[in-house]
């Protein structure tokens, strides 16, 4: 498999009145074609901002995106003009969002909204793009697709709307799909259906998926590679198996300890991570996790640990891994 997306030293800073907020702080990673990459982290850790920065969808100002390069299929997204980006968005890279209830325009038929993307990027006429929309609705498992394409968003349930969003995202056969917490707003059974659908379709369409979530269970079921983010930095990057078997960073370890496991000994208490994530306006010197880290030492307060290889295919930003 070849590299689809290479992000090198991505920085996204929001210039606000209160000061500069480094929402993404030196993130580097690589995604291969057809691969599913999970990004986990708590709220405000920079997961979504990373995704939006890659698509260059953040309003600038207040955001400022800098970085060495963001190579997508050989082209540097940071160097592109908005017109070039627009041609790429929806066509080669697509995105689905957390809340399916507000992701569709209430005044247009869903078929029209799917066809809109097709019409824009695939140079199809109204009839062909409509047919493509119906075909996509069928693919995402909407019964009676030909008829349902004529319905309005309010006539669909949350899970159905998320299916429609997936249909829009995949309608032009993109090579990268960014899913920003696609199942957070859905109940658990629907979550499972949507994830299954995404897995099946990404396989069928050969689409690489960047899956942003704070649900480690979703990661375990979907992703091949995982990035763990904390306070705008990558703290660990590895494959899914290693992440669960041998987490290197104390933060990853703490995360895994804080969720219930089926194979755990009975009556074992969950261990919460004490304290709060740092205020991005007043980032501590040194490791940003140090104030909450059980293994923190004097060095952690002074220096910022770089993301280095700690094992085979496993990188972690910690002076004292494992």
């Amino acid at each position: 498999m070849t590299d689809l997306l290479t992000v090198r030293d991505l920085h996204t800073t929001f210039h606000t009145r209160a000061g500069d907020v480094p929402a993404v702080n030196g993130v580097s990673f690589t995604m291969r074609e057809g691969e599913t990459l999970g990004i986990v982290g708590e709220s405000g850790s920079g997961k979504s901002v990373t995704a939006l920065s890659i698509m260059r969808l953040l309003p600038t100002p207040p955001a400022e995106i800098t970085g060495q390069e963001v190579l997508f299929a050989g082209q540097d997204l940071l160097e592109m003009s908005q017109d070039q980006l627009r041609a790429l968005r929806g066509n080669k890279m697509a995105m689905i969002f957390q809340d399916p209830m507000t992701s569709l325009n209430p005044v247009f038929k869903v078929g029209f909204q799917i066809a809109e993307s097709v019409r824009m990027h695939m140079n199809l006429g109204p009839r062909d793009s409509w047919n493509r929309a119906v075909e996509m609705l069928d693919k995402v498992g909407i019964p009676n697709a030909a008829r349902r394409a004529n319905d309005y968003p309010h006539e669909f349930s949350g899970g159905m709307r998320q299916r429609v969003m997936i249909a829009i995202a995949l309608s032009c056969n993109p090579s990268l799909l960014i899913a920003d917490e696609p199942t957070t707003a859905l109940d658990v059974t629907i979550q499972a259906q949507i994830l299954e659908l995404m897995r099946a379709l990404s396989k069928e369409f050969q689409t690489a998926v960047m899956l942003i979530t704070h649900d480690l269970g979703v990661i375990a079921g979907m992703a091949q590679q995982v990035l763990v983010m904390y306070a705008g930095r990558l703290v660990e990057a590895t494959d899914t198996r290693t992440l669960f078997a041998k987490p290197a960073h104390p933060y990853t370890q703490a995360l895994l300890h804080s969720i219930p496991r089926m194979d755990d000994a009975q009556n074992e208490r969950l261990q919460p991570i004490t304290g709060q994530p740092p205020d991005l306006l007043k980032m501590p010197v040194g490791c940003s996790f140090a104030p909450r880290c059980p293994k923190a030492q004097a060095r952690c307060q002074r220096e910022t640990p770089p993301l280095v290889e700690v094992g085979a295919g496993q990188r972690a930003a910690c002076f004292f891994p494992y």
Binding site: L57, G90, Q98, S103, V107, R147, D151, M165, A169
Partner: protein, 342 residues
Amino acid sequence: MDTDRYLEPDTAPTQLTQEYLMEESLEPGLHSTSPWRDSFRRFLRDKRAVGALVLLAIFILASLFLLPIYEHIGPVISERHGFVHIGPAKYHSPTYVDNLVENAPASSLHWLGTNYAGQDIFARLLAGIQVSLFVAVIVVGVMDVGLGIIFGVLAGYYGGILDTLLARFTDLIFAFPGLLFAVLVTGLFRQAALDRFGNDGPLYLVAITLGLTIWPQMARYVRGQTLSLKEQQFIEASRTIGTSSNQIILRHILPNILSLIFVAATLDISGTIINEGVLSLIGLGVQAPGSSLGLMIQESLANIPYFPMEAILPSLTLTIIVLAFSFIGDGLRDAFDPRSKD
């Protein structure tokens, strides 16, 4: 007002259930309704608003078509001074002055009588309605909605310097009473308008002046709606599929705020018609012998103790038109309110 219906426990559930069952019995997909059609159906259920709409339609049609017809109905009579034969085209004209039939009561010749100058009141009423509606269309339809949408959407969507300018300009207009501004401007330029555009000049002047004072309010409203809409996820989602800003404004923002603008505009019409009436009443609007409801009220003032109908008829007409627009606006607001989904 219609919320009461949902509070009544006995009637509301059965009615809703019945409708629900009726809709479900249809084949799915065949009853697919657009939000606009839904709202239209809800509007039709509001009897007061529909009644107002019908009444207003009658008024509009009458002022447009009954006036020319009225000018053909009636015998040919001889003018009371000069012994010239004249037809209804003349004595039923809203501007024709006949000093010998001042303040005549209603008759087959003058259906609602004549005023202090012997002008036919019925014809003048119809002409007055035309003026009110003309002002409503120009001021609200063109200036209020047009400028309001353009500046509101652009300021809300792009922000920046345009937004700041709009905010300061709106503050300025708000700080200065609209009617006072209109009085000032129409007073200053009335003569110039008369010289340039003849008897209709003051009317245009009034329309433009009222329009100038009313649109910033609409622009601010549209800006607010645009701001909140801009943050909706479907706007962001459409950006992720590569939609350009122009298309987002035309396809996603405008269709979603159009209904709200519609409601606001309908309610603005009432105020505008009243303001035109006030300006005419204090002699800054339509020039006699032209007609306008406000002017008719003003002309009747001196004779109110003796011929009260001459004041009551135009006042009543004005009230009905204003109320009708308000009722329609209320009905539209309820119909478009997403919380009143049924």
